[in-house]
């Protein structure tokens, strides 16, 4: 965990320092206003101020000292500490992704199971084609079509086209506020979920097929257990274990995808923050977002491992390496 986290910080820091140019020459522009001597003095003073005159390993350690206390410096654009911005934005992205995540699991597990039970029959083949198409659909296309046809004058305006809540939503009592919020989340969540279905359903189907062919399932059937019992108690419970570990790989993919979705639907989350930071060259924010995204991914991996141990009693962390 900790070495990986250190590695992440090294990569992020490396990217920022290997790049051509540095923040000081960026902020000073092409020059020409000041005479050369004064420009050099100002440059030197600023380099010292930001610690850029020290060797790169020293710079890294200094940066790391701040990062450990979640001090990522100030945002150039917002003139506020970066960590405050992230504290505001992170819950929004997490809500969006967790809702999508739950929906993906709720839809994919039954679909995958049904496809496995109906192996090589109509439902199996039909669902696999549909899911493949969903997987290949770009979120940009779906998002823009949804906005174009469901939020505007072109067709019907059932949903709000942008943002997380209506104007003055803060003054509403809790339940109207909640419905308003959910109303705004419908389309973004659709965009986030549909591509995950394909991936997870395929995994569920593969796992289920494998356990349906296993000897213990044949034994269960031979004992005369009903089909429902065999599928749900014997096959399903064993096939679910790999599906849990997929959580760990699904989450980072979704976090990345939410950059596009938040941009399309103008949702002020982490993805939007990253997008704005890149367009305005707000380097402190860029570095912070990349570091935090890596950290969250690590937490996801850890949760996946824990869930794995909970779901499968054969796995334990004590006796193993």
């Amino acid at each position: 965990m900790i070495p990986t986290m250190l590695g992440i910080t090294i990569i992020v820091f490396g990217i920022s320092r290997l790049a051509p140019g540095n923040p000081v020459s960026l902020s000073m522009g092409p020059g020409g206003q000041l005479d050369a001597q004064r420009a050099a003095d100002v440059r030197k003073a600023r380099m010292q101020l930001y610690g850029l005159d020290k060797p790169i390993p020293v710079q890294y350690v200094n940066w790391l000292k701040h990062v450990v206390t979640f001090n990522f410096g100030d945002s150039i654009k917002h003139h506020r500490p970066v960590i405050e911005l992230i504290k505001e934005r992170l819950p929004i992205t997490l809500t969006l992704n967790l809702i999508a995540f739950v929906i993906i699991y709720v839809v994919s597990i039954p679909t995958g199971m049904l496809a496995a039970v109906r192996h090589k029959r109509f439902f199996d083949q039909f669902s696999s084609v549909v899911l493949f198409m969903l997987w290949s659909l770009p979120a940009m296309l779906v998002g823009q079509l949804l906005i174009g046809y469901f939020c505007g004058p072109a067709f019907v305006s059932w949903f709000p086209p942008a943002g997380l809540s209506s104007n003055q939503a803060d003054t509403l009592p809790f339940f109207p506020w909640l419905t308003d919020r959910l109303w705004h989340l419908v389309l973004p969540v659709i965009c986030l979920t549909y591509s995950g279905f394909a991936y997870l359903t395929k995994q569920v189907r593969a796992g289920m097929l494998e356990s349906l062919r296993a000897d213990y399932v044949r034994t269960a059937r031979a004992k005369g257990l009903s089909n429902v019992t065999v599928i749900f108690r014997h096959a399903f419970r064993n096939s679910i274990i790999p599906v849990i570990t997929i959580m760990a790989t699904l989450l980072p993919a979704m976090l990345g995808g939410s950059v596009i979705i938040e941009r399309i639907f103008s949702i002020p989350g982490m993805g939007m923050l990253a997008f704005e930071a890149v367009t305005t060259r707000d380097y402190n924010v860029v570095m912070a977002v990349a570091t935090i995204a890596g950290l969250m991914n690590l937490v996801g991996l850890l949760l996946g491992d824990i869930a794995y141990a909970v779901a499968d009693p054969r796995v334990s962390f004590e006796s193993s390496v």
Partner: protein, 400 residues
Amino acid sequence: MVEISAQQKSWGVSYGEMVRREFVKNKLNVVNLVLIVILFALAVLAPFLANDKPFMIRLDGKLMFPLFASLTASDYSILLAAAIGIWQLILIRRNRRNIEPSVRGQVLTRQLLINASILLVGSILFFVFMPRRLDATDYKGLISSGRASDAIFAPIPYGYARTDLKVREQPPSKEHWLGTDDVGSDVLCRLIYGSRISLSVGFVAVGISSLIGVFIGSILGYFGGKVDFIGMRLVEIMMAIPVFFLIITIVAYWQRSLFNIMVIIGLTTWTANARFVRAEFFKLRNQDFVQAAVSLGLPLRSVLFRHMLPNGIAPVLVEATFGIAGAIFIEAALSFLGFGVAPPTPSWGQMLSLGVSTTGRFLWWLTLFPGLAIFLTVLAYNLVGEGLRDAIDPRLRKAA
């Protein structure tokens, strides 16, 4: 000849041939492969399909060929690459008939090397010696003013960089089959040229990521132990940062160009390849032929890449096909966000982002057509990858 054909039967069926037969059995795979070939043809022949310069025109009584004269060095390089690619396919077909299986691999490698160097030298020559011409003549204006006649235009008589503010943001019509964009360029024309960007990003990025992945994966898998432990920690670190965030971070610092995007996608997506190759090499490491190669005293390079790699390459091929789809996706997403190639170079993602105009108007043709182009391309590659996986998977083959 009779002797050869008698001998040919005893050659048996090679692994590649088995996979090919299995792959072709499913008609859907063939359809997708044809779709990909059509896409390639579109990308290669783009200047002949969509161009604002005529093939032939009689200007002031003189016969001219402006389209051919205005082809750039990269156009010629692409045509050369296509010709060499087709030639290589013919060679492979011929090898299968004429060359003994035991040396076929070596012959193929030599052919590939020769062809690649021809391509490299050819493109360098094109780029060094081709004069850069900028032909901004308005041939249509010349025709309507009566100075020119007998013009033969391409099927889509618009250039991808030609702007015409009089016809901006127009829905599909007889003149512009798929409408026009915010500066009045023809959407169909830009879509055709955009396929070049998508395909080149897909192939170059996957080429880079496969090379890195195979190299690192084979070393980790072969040595195992400490090397593997340290290497896998590095791979884990690379995997720990969500790829899209990593790419965005790099894009923030580096200059935005097509080359950079290819390299960035390649450098950030190799981890899956490395893990597959590593797993495969773990299995191969203890097999007899590898032990034999080692005990013969062959150099490490030869053991790894001559003897082991051909037996462990199958999952890399499948992964590469999916990787192309993924790279096209990432490029489209980056261009959509405005981090891609700079206009007027056409890219599908950038065109898609114009689907909502600056005034907030929803332009369906600018959303639907580029979106469908991305969708169909990605779907074709994904389905081919899936077909390839089914064809390679030995469990399925036994069952069939």
